[in-house]
Symmetry: C2
Subunit: 322 residues, 2 copies
């Protein structure tokens, strides 16, 4: 495989932009200053066989999802993603056309959010494909939404429906790789909550925020530990998936929501008096937010109030890649 | 291995800095705006077994070199590196203490250039270690030094001595892993030319620049192609290594310089009338620059004038990782 040929073809995929001074093809990329804004950046790596398998993700979806994971991190800060860099470590059994399919998936998602590919590299690996994506974004000075901003009395909320990605994975692994439905699409093309993150930031309220890459329980634990508070979630408020419930039963659907992972929805908190505002603003944009519990004092911990009234501790478990 | 425990230990290694708003531990890192400066960014990935082997690099050196490769790219733009992110994909045979040694190597080089670790991730790989580093830097608006700036009549120059890294690798592979001399150190701890890059940028002259990650011939070809010019290098001006010559003979030492790779010196061009200024400014800072030839017109190509007067074409070969 010829790296220069690959670069040329990737370059053709990518739209020219006046927002880029030096893009692909020099030692480093150069972009204009983010006028008066803070710079947000994140990197995530996905490994073949661990984070994705060619038996559950099409090539296009591998690219789409690799970028989505990173955009989700920017969303969880309330930031606006602007640019991305891609580093591929590729084993010899990958063909150039296959790699271009991966870039097409990234490129389509990137175009949707006006995020521009500015650089990266591709190297040879001993085995499998490893994709590292770095995203640069911007946010109004000191307006980042942090995990450490939750306070006693806050309303805890989540976006969207939880557990669908895991339910989709089960279908792809156990049943039919060619199935395309709401659940499998949730696994293969998760929608990063970029618009919602910015809406929450624009509110100007004190909002704590985290994205749900592992399960809900694990992500709420991160908020609890960063903010030194405890959470009590209500089991019957957690937005589990009707489709997953139909296929796997209610208990499994709840388990997928709590411990499934890869939903890339957002979980956060806001002062109780501001919750109706936030809820209405999201609704107006067609974005779904659900209040799932409250923030309490005490040392970091997470509880769930079951429908029978029982209050049980939620373990930090969640879904972890090996 | 526990990722949170590793993050905590890495965090302890890293100096606190008022230049970082949100560092390791949230969804993304946040740094202040680079006031009125352009933003430079680059990513490079090193794979175990391809770019480094534990039989030729100590753990500390793996970290040092992985960051050096990236700083070299920023240097080749004339930029000032400010922040970095590290993404590790780790197989199960790596121990936490070993990874911390890698971070120590990065950290020491980073401290030397006041570059701050602000984030990253670590994930599980199926086999081997893959290190992806992203560096963010800054440069005065529109002052980046590009590969495309060479013009007919320019003086072509290189920094330092070439071919030592490759000579060092030969010693480490064939002779003695424990040898520590000028050549093996050039391979294990290459010095990114960050100060020189900024000096060239500060000159305000039209300077084309590239870093020597592959061999000199390959990097000069990149300048030729980006600038649509040809180069004629003088064999007897190429700064080959006296130590390498002593051990491997003159022909091998020249071959290491032209095709060896991983020297991470800089190669570039400047208008002939400005060359004495540039040379003197570098000398004043204790940095070595050597004029090695001239830029000519014509279609992109690279020639070398041999000591016997013969003019031979230099192939684009250079050293390529598999």
């Amino acid at each position: 495989m010829n790296e220069f040929d690959l670069i040329r073809k990737i370059d053709q995929l990518t739209a020219d932009s006046s927002d880029v001074k030096i893009g692909i093809g020099d030692d480093a990329a150069v972009v204009p200053n983010f006028k008066n804004k803070d710079v947000i950046t994140t990197v995530d790596t996905l490994c073949e066989g661990i984070h994705f398998k060619r038996s559950t993700l099409r090539l296009y979806d591998i690219g789409y999802k690799a970028l989505a994971v990173n955009l989700s991190d920017i969303a969880a800060m309330g930031g606006k993603p602007r640019y991305y860099l891609v580093s591929l470590a590729i084993s010899s059994d990958w063909e150039q056309d296959e790699l271009l399919d991966i870039y097409r998936g990234m490129n389509d998602l990137a175009n949707h959010y006006n995020v521009i590919l500015i650089g990266g590299d591709s190297v040879t690996s001993k085995s499998g494909l490893t994709i590292s994506i770095t995203v640069l974004g911007e946010i109004e000075t000191d307006h980042s939404l942090l995990r450490s901003s939750a306070r006693e009395g806050d309303v805890a909320f989540v976006s969207g429906i939880l557990g669908e990605s895991r339910a989709g994975l089960e279908i792809l692994l156990e049943q039919d790789f060619n199935e395309r439905n709401r659940l499998t699409m949730a696994h293969q093309r998760p929608e990063p909550q970029v618009i919602l993150g910015q809406l929450l930031k624009d509110s100007g309220y004190r909002v704590s925020l985290n994205d749900i890459s592992d399960g809900l329980s694990s992500e709420v634990w991160e908020l609890a530990e960063a903010s030194h508070v405890s959470f009590c979630l209500k089991e019957d408020k957690i937005p589990i998936s009707k489709e997953a419930e139909k296929l796997f039963g209610k208990q499994k659907a709840l388990d997928f929501a709590l411990n499934g992972g890869e939903d890339f929805q957002l979980v956060g908190t806001v002062e109780k008096s501001k919750w109706p505002d936030i809820e209405a603003a999201a609704k107006e944009k067609g974005l779904s937010l659900t209040a799932i519990g409250t923030v309490e004092g005490g040392s970091p911990s997470v509880f769930m109030r079951r429908q029978n009234g029982e209050r049980i501790p939620l373990k930090q478990g969640g879904y972890r890649h090996q």
